[in-house]
């Protein structure tokens, strides 16, 4: 958690002090860029800075050309970099290694030494932003001409590490507004968001300690304690992730730059579709706009729609981590979304007729409003159950998650 390091505290105090004091627009632009470079260089190290510099230069140049082929090549390079840095080990040892153990291992022996100890900092985020940029420019949108603007779009420090995933069409006007003038109200709101994010992170860290203590002995716990751990897993990730987003958005706001919200009370969702409109909004909309819609979306019939949804969510799952359980989690949500949108369509067609029948039935004295309320609570509970079961697959290997799921339903295996 980079925002909670002592170095960052000193950095932030210095950064905001300098940024607020300097009134000129161009000076602020340069200062902000310098701060972003210092931030990224400190946490990424020299080996982590090089990939983003190379990819940024290539993306900028490809975008400036406005040539579809150049943009496509740029997208290919960005995706290839992400696959190389993040997924080489998984592809060699887990995918290829499953069907051809020696081949996978031998391939990794050759390729593995080329990999750094850890993937470059924030590679998942900046690759997605570059891909979005090149896709939009390839579709005819205007590219970013100002290299300073592009550099800031690439390494904007509040959001580079864990989002929100920015859209340049939204970011650049916000950047212009911020460097032109920082409003006191924005700084105040930013401070409050920062405080809220800190409280959420603090609570999430406590929940993490709680879960880590008990998940290894899940089978030894009583039934109520198992369900508490189960609930804590879901709460932990919400507070951890949304807390970080709040802090990122708060810091950006303190610079006068408005980033879009990334979480909108996801645990009040009454359907999977609604959940994904409220959870990690910047990622889910990116997946929709740059994976789901380009491969056909819902335009080619019901079967193709389900396939496209599954593929989009598989990529979404794998984006979170290079392991089978992340892939499984993605597919799980893809299936859930397909089922959810199908029964919603069915309920939509059957709804008025059903309501009319209920209105005339023996249950009528309770009224339609009551039944709708019951329906909403039931759908909310089912949605939350679905989402929380999904978190088991997100955090644990599939066999462990299945075991934990069974232990939630039975005392002993």
């Amino acid at each position: 958690m980079l925002f909670l390091t002592p170095w960052f505290f000193v950095f932030a105090c210095a950064a905001f002090s300098v940024y607020w004091v300097v009134p000129q627009r161009m000076a602020r632009l340069f200062i902000l860029l310098a701060l972003c470079i210092v931030f990224h260089a400190h946490f990424a190290g020299p080996a982590g800075v090089l990939p983003i510099v190379v990819l940024a230069v290539v993306t900028y140049a490809a975008g400036l050309s406005r040539h579809k082929t150049a943009c496509a090549a740029g997208i290919g390079l960005c995706v290839a970099s992400l696959v190389f840095y993040k997924y080489t080990r998984f592809l060699c040892l887990s995918v290829l290694g499953t069907v051809w153990p020696h081949g996978g291992y031998d391939l990794f022996k050759h390729v593995g030494p080329l990999l750094p100890l850890a993937p470059p900092l924030a590679i998942s985020f900046f690759v997605f932003e570059f891909v979005h940029y090149l896709y939009d420019v390839g579709q005819g949108e205007a590219p970013i001409k100002n290299p300073l603007h592009f550099a800031l779009f690439s390494v904007f420090w509040p959001s580079i590490v864990a989002g929100p995933v920015k859209r340049y069409g939204q970011f650049l006007p916000a950047l212009e507004e911020g460097i032109r003038r920082v409003h006191k109200r924005d700084v105040a709101v930013g401070l409050i968001l920062l405080a809220v994010g800190l409280v959420k992170k603090f609570a999430a860290d406590n929940l993490t300690a709680y879960v880590s203590c008990y998940d290894k002995h899940f089978a030894a716990l009583g039934m109520s304690e198992r369900w508490m751990v189960f609930a804590a897993i879901g709460l932990r990730i919400l507070w951890d992730f949304s807390g970080y987003s709040d802090m990122a958005i708060g810091f950006a706001l303190m610079l006068g730059i408005r980033l879009p919200a990334n979480f909108n009370w996801p645990y009040v969702a009454v359907s999977i579709t609604e959940f994904w409109r409220r959870w990690h909004i910047s990622l889910s909309t990116w997946i929709r706009d740059y994976v789901y819609i380009p491969i056909g979306g819902s335009r080619q019939g019901a079967v193709r729609k389900i396939f496209n949804g599954l593929l989009a969510f598989t990529i979404c799952g794998l984006w979170h981590g290079a392991a089978w359980n992340f892939l499984f989690w993605g597919v799980y949500h893809g299936v859930g979304l397909a089922v959810s949108s199908s029964y919603q369509r069915l309920a939509g067609r059957a709804g008025p007729a059903l309501a009319a029948r209920l209105g005339g039935s023996a249950l009528a004295p309770w009224g339609l409003a009551t039944w709708l309320a019951v329906y909403r609570v039931a759908t909310w509970a089912l949605t939350m159950l679905f989402v929380h079961v999904g978190w088991l697959f997100f955090f644990y290997p599939v066999p462990t998650a299945v075991r934990m799921l069974r232990l939630l339903l039975t005392k002993r295996l």
């Binding site: 390091t5 000193v10 109200r185 700084v187 105040a188 406590n206």
Partner: protein, 410 residues
Amino acid sequence: MGPVPSNRKWARWLVPNALFVGVAAGFATCCIAGVVASHQNPLRKVERFHLFICPETLYYPTVNQLCELAQGRLTTGKIAVIIGGNSRMHGTCQPLARVWTRQLQALLGDQFEVLNFGFRGAYSAEIGAIAAETLSRRYPKVIFVTDCAPGDVESHPDGVRFRYFFWDAYFKHLLYPDAERELRLREESREVPVEEQRQGRSSLFEGYYEDVKQRMRLDSVCYFTDLWNTIGYRRFFTVWTGTTADRPVWPRRKYHDPDSGPRPLSMRYPEDREELLARVRPPRLCLKDERGCWVKNPPVSQTYERALRTCFAASMRPRTVMVVLRQSSYLSQQLSREDQEFLGEVCRLTVRMCEEAGMTALEAGADYAFDDYADILHLTGSGGAKLAADVAPKVKELARRLGYMERESP
């Protein structure tokens, strides 16, 4: 003031200037409260730093707090005997009523005040040593007692597991200037690449090395750890741990020393005898030359000598009693004759090297019985009594040598 964001209607009620003043005032208040807390003594009833008031359960006592505890107990003229080191000196496996430091106090008498600053998992020069050094700058009569295994002492001047404590004292300028230690610290920061400093040498309780240093540098200005400790000890705790899961927000003053004593003899030594014997064999501090005489093993002994000089400040070494404490006699007697001879030689050499470094040193544990050990390392109550009986005369001898008390007439 700026437009209200569309998704944050509550922002219209904000008075930004008032919020800024409030945040700044709140931060300053917390810093001042931390400074005040650092000069208080919330730990006055603490006899030793048991499981619930130590970093294992995320409670991080500061140097000032330990010194305030010490000064609260010391009346004018008393000789402070600071016990440092690890769980053995802490008295793990000895219930509080029979802890060896109480027995040491009884043997030394009222002229001395024994303060148990041994921490489970600490190395010889961690925590207790720093507290003793800091206290000696404020209080004239301080003797420091610590332990080491034969031939073994940490190699980093700032410690191994509790580096936060060293840097807490360092950045608050509480330590004696020590050129050799300072040089070693600078050498270490150059030897270890920045990336590894950031990520390497992370310990179970502390996190990354670079973060520890920076956190304590910041804390030397803000005093947040002192404030948090005081609140956590007196009012409520704010971090969940598995050990305190039943009552996670209980103030730590409500927790009592949980050590109930050793396990039965039959349960003290697990099955893997070879692994245990490997742990009893000491580092190769010495070896036999062509004539069959024991001589120092240069690479190991030079590292040991440098560690003694750089981990213990020059001004503190003359006030230090190093107890070279053997591991369990139950195990060491199962070593081969050659290994036993080697162990004995390493013990003697360790004592000699500590004395050459300016310390007072003694060997203990060679003649302790099976029942004096609770496991491979720790002493039972009876073992603690023997340790106290071994240490007390050395402490008195050192006190006389330092001029803290009059020499006894022949």
